[in-house]
Symmetry: D3
Subunit: 190 residues, 6 copies
């Protein structure tokens, strides 16, 4: 019941009905650098991490990304749940609608289904932590592009919150890289 | 910390080192009817379910499938973690090894990365619950094929446990279908 | 010459030129739950069905879906064949046009090429018939979403005819499931 | 009932049980240049062909390829239907078995699901007929590679028959190209 | 430094800011019959060509296609680099923007990532050269569809130049086919 | 003629005929972290890099990766060109052979065709350079796994050379990141 209850707690505010914006934000639900990519990537890499602490960081962040995945899904759903057919027709959400109605689906803004080809797990902790640091930077970029095209204040607030978390995760993976490399690291990443 | 702690509790027993068997069991980690498909499918469909009870069933089962996904990952990992290069060479695990070392990765037994094209979410509860009942039957079949080719007693025990859970999930989705259809249902499914 | 002649007989009526609508209806030509998925799925599963009657149902329905695939193709073609470049520009059909001109292609409304990952064939008749019953429900849903966004009377008539056939197929697969399970079944499905 | 009855007529002879060979021959059931690619490609291109004769050739050949698809499926099925688990284990068919049992599935010899990305339909008859001539040459090559690795006399006979048909289809598409270009053509292709 | 310097020499003229047109022209950067498909296809086939001359033709044309790939990228970039967010919103480029900003990416006009499933390399020179002749015809068709929907004079000029090169490449592959077949050929292809 | 001539210069030594090893090394020809991924990634990101120097580094490294792609192709080809059918049968190369003969093809060791989903280009130089540093670490890992399973001395030498280049590229991307961030950087990466 963990995920379900957490859903009720997060303040995902949406002020408008906007299928076009929903069709763009779904990028972070099922796109290359979205929350699903992050969650599956980190939870998959855990078995070959060399220390319990590194495993714990991957578990923590991976689990948090699952909750963020749910937040993004709620954004998309709230932007479309009250949309009339006339509000959907002629928007980029229409192609989603004829396949999935108003349900969520893990595809990107272009409608391409999520694929594990977006992520990697090499069995080498140096490589995997670099993969993760890059993933967080890429997710940050997507949130910035999404904020740029958003005009719903509640949506923008939520996207900013999620972007900030990616920066924090980036730093945690940087620290994990230091721990794994067992040498001095610079204090700040990015 | 939920997923991490649960990992410690499950009795995933593995008696042998067997990269070939690992390469087959990874089917349920990242294949069409594996645990990842199940988890993502159910957790994705929740927003458009018509009742709180239906949402709760999807959340419960989806969350349980995430834990099962982790169990399957542990099976694969334990079957390979002590394997020497000589034990890996010439097996179907070798193609996995040159890409992922001994790490997990969500692909099927043939090495095809997981794709959301395996799952569906239609925004119509009748369709989605049929999708889920079919998913559980298909997962049951995969476990049966895997049990047939397994000769490690611990692995077989774990696979049998996982197969039984699919039958239970199938029945729960049948009950959810009754609830959504609001009419008399036959008592037992399959 | 079977398919070619059948094409002439079906009353696929289209009253308008409407590239946007064509770009949506192509969902059933090459999308996840479209007619191609149905035909390939049923024709593929035949070899491992346990009785001649089950094989015959799969052959009958699979063959009918091929004819329906052709009907959907004709809908798409008639909606676009007289479209001028100005009528195409700025519509979701434009991305199709620059790749395929006015030809058909088996992709969904978002332009994603058809993949066999949409279908399954497990070699277990219980699983396969559940897969098929789910497939028919999902196809029914897609037709409902398509009818909702259509405003061409001939197109709507054809889509309604095709939707009804999915319900009939669903019932036939339910009957096949009864036959395969060799026990009493409830009379009506859905 | 068309496809079903035709199945009974073709003399698809198989003398051995050989899961490894089956795993290779499935290339022509669901691989890039297999019979499914051919059938879907030709049947998809029909709407934009400029003459009734060109449409008829595509319909004829596309329909014949569907029948050949069924023949290839029968080859694969006969090579595996009596295989014991011990005969399957350790062969490349094992990865297929854990997902699909002994059922057919449209994937290639490596297990990659069929995708419409293998085919093209450009809405330009010159391009489409070149696509088709290339397709027939590529299918011929695959049959030659398959014949090279086959040692079951019945299988080899059937593969040779199918290879010859590709050469004939190549010539028919060459003739169609002549008709469409409306100028003198050389008599023989390849 | 080869590719970089060549970029400076080509007169890729673009007169307007037009994200919609950019979203269509990206078809030739990462679509089925685009310049990347051509380059990777020809450069991949070289090892099994039977003569040094055939290898040289594949190398020459493949290398030229890499330069054309860069030209197409420059077209897309110039059409979008000065676009404001308001000019991007509501266009088909918006889905690209939220994933890639104003960067290039090898996907088609619908946003589907490039896949090697678009190309083939059979190890049989007759098949491979037919594949290539078909590829050039298909690329020519795409350029024609793109020219039809373009209204920027500089873009149209560049697209016409690129189309002409495909016709020349088609003829060169026809000549290579003659050389490989070692018999008389007709002088002109298409 | 650039690529063709370079091919002649590189000392790609192969001492054995070994189709199994070829089937593994093709991972770096068409796999997730192979040379094709690297080349297309870097050459694609160039347009949005903020300085001429950053563009030049991407061009230099991307071009070098194309040459390395060719070296890997030559390794695969030399390991298989003299193989008899008997040497191919029963190896993981057999599935490649029935589709591509002895030609190269950009797929990974499992036979999955290369997809642009493996790479990213975000239009944000910080993100893109992190992507590239991760890419180099992942390529290094693959070369290490490949070296572990190789027993041909010439192949191992070439793989070691290629691995070293990835480390150098990693450092160059680290320097580019410093330049783009315009602040003090630590001297050494990894």
């Amino acid at each position: 019941m963990w995920i379900y209850e957490k859903k009720l707690e997060y303040p995902v505010r949406v002020n408008t009905t906007n299928p076009t914006l929903a069709a763009m934000i779904i990028e972070q639900f099922g796109g290359a650098d979205g929350e699903l990519s992050a969650a599956i990537r980190y939870l998959t890499q855990r078995w070959t991490m060399p220390t319990g602490k590194a495993k714990a960081i991957l578990t923590d962040v991976g689990t948090e990304e699952l909750a963020h995945w749910e937040m993004v899904g709620t954004l998309v759903y709230k932007l479309t749940k009250d949309a009339t057919i006339d509000q959907i027709k002629g928007t980029p959400f229409e192609a989603h609608y004829v396949n999935h109605g108003k349900a969520l689906f893990p595809h990107d803004a272009a409608g391409v289904p999520w694929t594990a080809a977006y992520i990697q797990s090499k069995g080498d902790p140096i490589s995997d932590l670099h993969e993760n640091m890059a993933a967080e930077q890429k997710a940050r970029s997507t949130y910035e592009w999404l904020i740029n095209i958003s005009d719903d204040p509640g949506v923008i607030d939520t996207l900013r919150f999620l972007r900030e978390r990616e920066v924090v995760h980036y730093q945690r993976f940087g620290e994990a890289l230091c721990l794994v490399q067992e040498h001095n690291c610079r204090k700040k990443f990015y």
